[in-house]
Amino acid sequence: MSAQATRSARSVRLTRRIEAFKSSARLFASNRMGVAGLAILTVFVILALFADVLAPESRLSVTHAPGAPLEPPSAQFWLGTDELGRSVLDLVIQGSQISLLVGFLATAISILIGALVGITAGYFGGWTDVILMRLTDWFLVVPFLPLAIVLAALLGRGLFVIAFVIGIVTWPGTARVVRAQVLTLKERPYVERARALGASDRQIIGRHILPNVFPLIFANTILVVAVAILTEATLSFLGLGDPFSVSWGSILESAFAEGAISLGAWWYLVPPGLCIVLVVLGFTMCGYAFDEILDPRLRER
C-alpha cells in the first residue's frame, strides 16, 4: 500500500512538474519580446558552438591570410577582410565564442559572490551585515570601469582573469537585492518553525532561504550576463583582453587601431559592434520576459 502510494505520489509529482513547465513555456511563448530575445540568443549560441566548423582557426592565420588587406564585402568574403586579409565574418564567428564564454563565466562568478554575500549579510545580520554591506557599498561607489581596468592591468591578461575582474565589479547589485529579500524571508514563520525543528543555520539557509531567493537570483543572472558581455567588449577594446584570442571587443580594438573609420572600412567595425548590441538586447529582452513570468503583477491583462 505504502509502496503504491509512493509510486503514485511520484507520478503525480512528475506530471505536475511537466504541467508547470508547460504553462511557464506557454507564458514565455506568448511573450513576443521574450521569443525574439530567445531567437537572437539561440542564433548566437549556435554560432559559438559551431565556431570551429563555420570558421576554422586555420583561416584566421596571420601569415597565411586568405584575402588581401581590407577588402570590401564580396562573394568570397561576405563581410570583407581585416588589415591582414582575414575574413571579418570568420573573426566575428570566432569572437562570439570568447565573448559568450567570458560573459557566462563572469556572470557565474558575479552571481556566486553576490548571492553568498547577500545571503550571509541578510541572514546573520548584526556586525556581519554591517561589514559586508559596507564592502558592497565600496564596490558600488568605486567607479566600475577604472576599477576593472586597474584590476585587469594588475592581474595580467587572460580569459579567466577577465572573467574574474568582471565578476568582482558586478556582484554588489546582486548582493543588495538578495540581502533585501533574505531580510524578509528570515522573519517568516516557517523559518522559525525550522529553527524549532532543531535545524542549524546551514540547513535553514539551504532548505528554506535559498529556494525562496532562487527566482530572484535567476532573473538577476540574465541581466548580469548582458552587463558582463558589454564589459568584456569594453575591456578588450581598451586592449586589456586576452591577446591570444579573438573576441568582439578585440576586433573593434584592431579596427580602431588600423584606422578603419578614416579608411571607410565600415565592414570591419559594424559587424562586431552589431553583434554586441544584438546579444545584449537578446539577454535584456529575455530578462524582462522572465521577470514577467516570475512576477505575475507585471503581466498584461
Binding site: 517568516r188 522559525e192 518553525r193
Partner: protein, 327 residues
C-alpha cells in the same frame, strides 16, 4: 531523577525580560509550572500576557533581545543557558510545537511531505526512504491521504495544513508537544476536528500537551489542568473543569464570562467584556497588577502584591480569594 516520578518539564521562577530601547521589560515574571508525562496543561490569558514567550523559552527560541532567568528543566536537561548544539538536539525530538497560523509555518516553495521528512531526518539517523514511509504513516494517522504529500502548502486548506502541522509535530515522537493557538483562524467545525485529533493522539501516545490559547472553550476540550496568566504571572491554576465552571480570581471570572453560555440566551446577546488593556510590562502597577481593571479591588490590592497560594485544590494569587478562604 526526574524521570522516576514522571516529571517531564519543570519551570522554576522563570523570568523573561525583553530589552526594548534600553528598557528591560519582563514579559514573563516569575512563573512556576510542572508538567508530568501524559499531562495536558492549558495556558490561558489575553494577548501580551506572556503565554507565547513562555512557550518559546521552553525551546530556547527567544529573540536575541531577551534575557532568561530562572530554570526550565526538561527531563534532565537545563534549557536556560544550554549550548546551541544541545538545544538543537532537544528541539522537536524532546519538545515539538504546533505553531499558530499553520498557513505560514510551511515554506511555500517546498512540498509539504518533504518538510515533514526534513524534521525526521534532522533528528534520526534513518534513510530518506524510511523517513518518507514514516511521513506517509503520519499523514494517514492525522487523516490526510499520503499521496497529498507531493502537494505544495497552498494546495491545502487551513484545517488540512493544521493536520500536517500536527503530523510534523509528532514526527520524532516527542514526549511533549506545545500547541500555540492551534485552532486560531479555523472555523468551528474544523476546530473541533483538530481538537479531537489532539486529544486522541494524546491518549494513544501518552503525549504531554501544553496548549496555549485565549479561547477557553479549546482548553475545556483537551486539557485537564489550566493556568491563567496575567501580566507575565500565573494568577490562577487548577483543574480545567473546576476553573472554567467556578472561577475564583476576578480575572479568570471575567475571561469565563466573556464567553456565551450554551442555553443562556442572555449571555449570547452581550458577552460581558473586560474594559481596559493589560499593563505595559515596563510599567507594572504597584500591588496586584490586575487591580486597575479589577471590578472587586479593595484596600490592600493597590499596595500589596498577592502571592500564588494554594486554596483547596487550586492555586490563586488574589487578596479577595484569600479573604474569602479565611472567612
Amino acid at each position: 531523577m526526574n524521570e522516576a516520578n514522571g516529571t517531564l518539564l519543570e519551570i522554576e521562577n522563570l523570568r523573561v525580560l525583553y530589552e526594548v530601547r534600553g528598557v528591560r521589560a519582563p514579559a514573563v515574571d516569575g512563573v512556576d509550572l510542572t508538567l508530568r508525562a501524559g499531562d495536558a496543561l492549558g495556558l490561558a490569558g489575553e494577548s501580551g500576557c506572556g503565554k507565547s514567550t513562555l512557550a518559546l523559552a521552553c525551546l530556547g527560541l527567544l529573540p536575541r533581545n531577551a534575557t532568561v532567568e530562572g530554570s526550565i528543566r526538561f527531563l534532565d536537561t537545563e534549557v536556560v543557558g544550554a549550548k546551541p548544539g544541545r538545544l538543537r538536539a532537544l528541539r522537536w525530538a524532546g519538545i515539538s510545537m504546533v505553531f499558530q497560523g499553520a498557513m505560514n509555518a510551511f515554506n511555500p516553495v517546498r512540498r509539504v511531505g518533504d518538510q515533514v521528512v526534513e524534521a525526521i531526518l534532522l533528528h534520526e539517523g534513518v534513510s530518506r526512504s524510511e523517513a518518507r514511509s514514516r511521513m506517509q504513516e503520519l499523514f494517514e494517522h492525522v487523516g490526510i491521504a499520503p499521496r497529498r504529500a507531493a502537494d505544495y502548502p497552498h494546495e491545502f486548506s487551513g484545517g488540512m495544513r493544521q493536520r500536517v502541522m500536527i503530523a510534523m509535530a509528532l514526527a520524532c515522537d516527542p514526549p511533549l508537544v506545545i500547541a500555540d493557538e492551534p485552532t486560531t483562524a479555523l472555523d468551528v467545525m474544523i476546530q473541533a476536528q483538530i481538537l479531537n485529533l489532539l486529544a486522541q493522539l494524546r491518549e494513544e501516545r501518552n503525549l504531554a500537551l501544553l496548549v496555549i490559547t485565549h479561547d477557553l472553550s479549546v482548553l475545556a476540550q483537551v486539557t485537564d489542568r489550566v493556568a491563567v496568566m496575567y501580566a507575565g504571572r500565573i494568577v490562577e491554576e487548577g483543574s480545567a473543569t473546576e476553573l472554567l465552571t467556578t472561577p475564583r480570581h476576578p480575572y479568570t471570572k471575567s475571561l469565563v464570562s466573556a464567553f456565551p453560555v450554551v442555553g443562556d440566551p442572555a449571555s449570547r446577546g452581550i458577552p460581558a467584556g473586560l474594559p481596559g488593556d493589560p499593563p505595559d510590562p515596563a510599567a507594572r502597577p504597584p500591588g496586584c497588577a490586575f487591580h486597575p481593571r479589577c471590578p472587586a479591588a479593595f484596600e490592600p490590592c493597590d499596595t500589596i502584591d498577592p502571592v500564588l497560594e494554594r486554596h483547596g485544590s487550586r492555586l490563586a494569587a488574589c487578596h479577595l480569594v484569600a479573604e474569602e478562604e479565611e472567612a
